[in-house]
């Protein structure tokens, strides 16, 4: 009839997992998260493939500008957007004489599905006419084309040779030499940090609150009395924390995995490689960081007597999760502050992998930070277990920290 500690802890953990797996809210939020990640990977890839298409109607004087813009748009000149520009006359060749003399040719052209009409006025200014607005890409290309055409005109009037003209209009760009080049990264590391940061923030918060809720539910339904009569309090806590840690990690893996699968399906192999190279540290720090706070989430639950009390008892925990998230995404420039935060136990789980992702941390640094987080986790688990033991059986009212600490020493 003896039941081992491992078996009991596993039983309690198993119940936590089973409850989560049947929680419709949890399943729905996971599905939504996966969908968002897959879309976030797939949509830009789909959009990226399409070069925007524009139709420009130009009068005879403006035609060189329009054609130069089309050339520039097709060439993919560095610093200029790409676009597929079709140039046509302002008067519709298919139509006969203007049907209504009060409507100008330009207005008629714009009514014909032409994006902009281009003309040149008496003093040589190029005029772009559009109905509501001019697409940014197109305006940029037309502006560049206009100045190029003007330069060419002035240069040929000054009698420059074709070579001189070419030097003037297409100067050789400066060569960039990097002494300490960073690896080529298809995704900016800042984006990777924000994505992981948000994912962790979301997961720690939902599972942290789930732990607190599960504790307060057992308290308010008094089932905890039956459990405590038969199972040492600390084993109960261990099972709870273990079950939720497994689920939290599984959820993060699932979401990251779905994102990577989506990326590789869209042929974004480089993104997959880049994310994989940093995700190991992110995930390792996530597990440690989650464990570090998990017992304290249980304490936040056990200090409450009813579910309504959670709002106030989990407040500091919510801050403890929120602060590192904002620190990691807001403090991007390497400096003493960022380095310090990457070793501070609360912020290290996000900040150290973030510094690795931006290539600012040396290879030994994450190991040290991990040691610090692990040591803090051990300390906080001990503190959390004592506070939990001291408060979980006090079902009548909210427990104060001091009282829980004293009672936990006796339990």
């Amino acid at each position: 009839m003896t039941t081992s500690r491992t078996a009991l802890v596993r039983l309690v953990a198993g119940r936590e997992i089973a409850v989560k797996l049947r929680d419709k809210g949890f399943l729905a939020s996971t599905a939504v998260f996966i969908a968002v990640i897959v879309l976030a990977v797939a949509v830009p890839a789909l959009i990226e493939g399409d070069t925007p298409e524009y139709t420009v109607a130009a009068d005879d004087a403006a035609r060189p500008v329009a054609e130069t813009a089309a050339t520039l748009g097709a060439a993919g000149v560095p610093g200029l957007p790409s676009a597929d520009i079709t140039v046509g006359p302002i008067e519709d060749p298919a139509a006969g004489a203007p049907s209504d003399p009060s409507v100008s040719a330009v207005e008629e052209a714009l009514a014909r599905d032409v994006d902009v009409a281009l003309s040149v006025d008496a003093d040589g200014t190029v005029i772009i006419t559009a109905l509501e607005d001019v697409p940014g890409d197109l305006e940029e290309l037309l502006a560049a084309a206009s100045s190029l055409v003007t330069t060419q005109a002035v240069a040929s009037a000054a009698g420059l040779s074709a070579e001189q003209l070419a030097d003037l209009t297409a100067p050789t760009p400066p060569r960039v030499d990097l002494l300490e080049p960073k690896p080529e990264q298809p995704v900016p590391p800042e984006l990777v940090i924000v994505i992981f940061g948000f994912l962790f923030y979301f997961t720690v918060l939902t599972f942290g609150i789930a732990i607190a809720q599960s504790v307060v539910e057992e308290k308010s339904s008094r089932v905890v009395e039956i459990l405590v009569a038969a199972v040492p309090i600390r084993w109960l806590l261990a099972g709870k924390v273990l079950g939720n840690t497994v689920m939290a990690f599984a959820q993060v893996l699932l979401i990251v995995g779905a994102g990577l699968l989506g990326a590789s399906a869209m042929g974004q192999g480089e993104i997959v490689a880049q994310v994989l190279s940093v995700s190991g540290w992110f995930l390792a720090f996530f597990v440690l960081g989650f464990l570090m706070l998990a017992c304290l989430w249980a304490v936040a639950g056990s200090l409450a007597a009813r579910v309504e009390d959670l709002q106030s008892t989990t407040l500091y925990m919510q801050l403890a999760v929120m602060a590192p998230f904002f620190a990691a995404i807001l403090i991007r420039d390497e400096g003493p502050g960022r380095v310090a935060l990457s070793y501070f136990p609360l912020t290290a789980p996000l900040m150290m992998p973030a510094r690795l992702a931006t290539g600012d941390a040396a290879a030994w640094e994450p190991w040290v930070a991990m040691g610090i987080v692990a040591a803090t986790a051990v300390a906080l688990v001990a503190v959390g277990a004592r506070l939990y033991a001291g408060s979980v059986l006090n079902t009548s009212a909210r427990t104060r920290l001091g009282g829980a600490w004293a009672a936990g020493g006796r339990a």
């Binding site: 089932v223 009395e225 039956i226 009569a229 038969a230 199972v231 059986l393």
Partner: protein
């Protein structure tokens, strides 16, 4: 082998300045139903929580069969807490299986026992319902099943009868009697004195944290019985004897109640009754549990 009994000695506990238990001591014997009776706040729940290990008392000893209440011993207790304790959002059968497994019962056996108990309690058709969808009475039956699921060696039940209808009450009483007959010491608290009187072999009366009476129910009542006699004389329902040292308390259809003082002889009362007519009933009356309770807490 004789079944072990639960021994409590010198149990003392205070919540802050308030003494909840003061040298509480009694025995719960195997094979007997022991009623734990006391006013609200007398210390019943605190005592029971100390027995199952949910509360660590300031002082005192609790032993089961001479062994201290280690985890191993505690896991053999069937406990029903006062405010009940089950997961509201868990299916009935699943919940029982989980608790059984927590208490060390193997999975298959746990399933069999859960099914068996649910059938015995008439809840088979609710086995896959969430607990909170059941009526309070039915939830209480599940609670009983939870206390019995691991076939405990000791039953500690805090107010198992509260909120039950008379039929459910009888069914519950039957379950407890069954366990007691199997040699299990059963301790239960209740406010329903008539029920306790009808059901219990032993009694523990607690008042303001002290045990004021404990022992076999019958012996306790005998002990506190005074010299009150009830006489029924056929054909003379309102018979009132006028004898030295005797006071008539009541005379009516249920017979005549007479208190005798130290000097009076019950035989003289009987003789007088026989002289008045055929005697249908003559006995010394025992105080009811309610009388007893009123007396000891006074």
């Amino acid at each position: 082998m004789t079944s072990p009994s639960l021994q409590i000695t010198g149990l003392t506990h205070a919540f802050g300045d308030r003494t909840a238990l003061d040298q509480v001591g009694f025995e719960v014997r195997p094979g007997r139903l022991t009623g734990f009776v006391g006013a609200n706040g007398a210390g019943k729940t605190t005592t029971m929580r100390a027995i199952v290990g949910v509360l660590a008392p300031d002082a005192g000893e609790i032993a089961f069969g001479g062994r201290p209440m280690t985890l191993e011993v505690r896991r053999r207790i069937g406990y029903m807490p006062e405010e009940r304790g089950l997961y509201p959002k868990m299916k009935v059968a699943e919940q029982l299986v989980y608790l059984a497994r927590i208490l060390g019962v193997a999975k298959d056996q746990a399933q069999d026992r859960a099914d068996g108990l649910l059938e015995a309690l008439g809840l088979t058709d609710r086995r896959d319902d969430m607990l909170h969808t059941l009526s309070l009475g039915n939830q209480q039956r599940v609670q009983v099943a939870a206390a019995l699921i691991h076939e405990p060696d000791l039953l500690i039940l805090d107010e198992p009868f509260s909120g039950l209808d008379p039929i459910a009450m009888d069914a519950m009483a039957e379950r407890l009697r069954e366990r007691a007959d199997a040699g299990v010491p059963v301790l239960f608290s209740s406010h329903q004195l008539d029920l306790v009187e009808r059901l219990c072999d032993d009694l523990v009366l607690i008042h303001q944290g002290r045990v004021v009476a404990a022992g076999a129910a019958r012996a306790l009542r005998e002990e506190r019985a005074g010299r009150r006699y009830r006489v029924e004389v056929g054909g003379a329902p309102a018979w009132r004897p006028a004898l030295a040292g005797m006071t008539v308390i009541d005379a009516g259809a249920a017979g005549t109640l007479v208190d005798l003082d130290e000097t009076a002889d019950p035989q003289a009362l009987l003789a007088a009754a026989q002289a008045a007519g055929p005697v249908a009933h003559f006995s010394r009356t025992l105080p009811s549990l309610a009388d007893l309770f009123a007396e000891v807490v006074r």
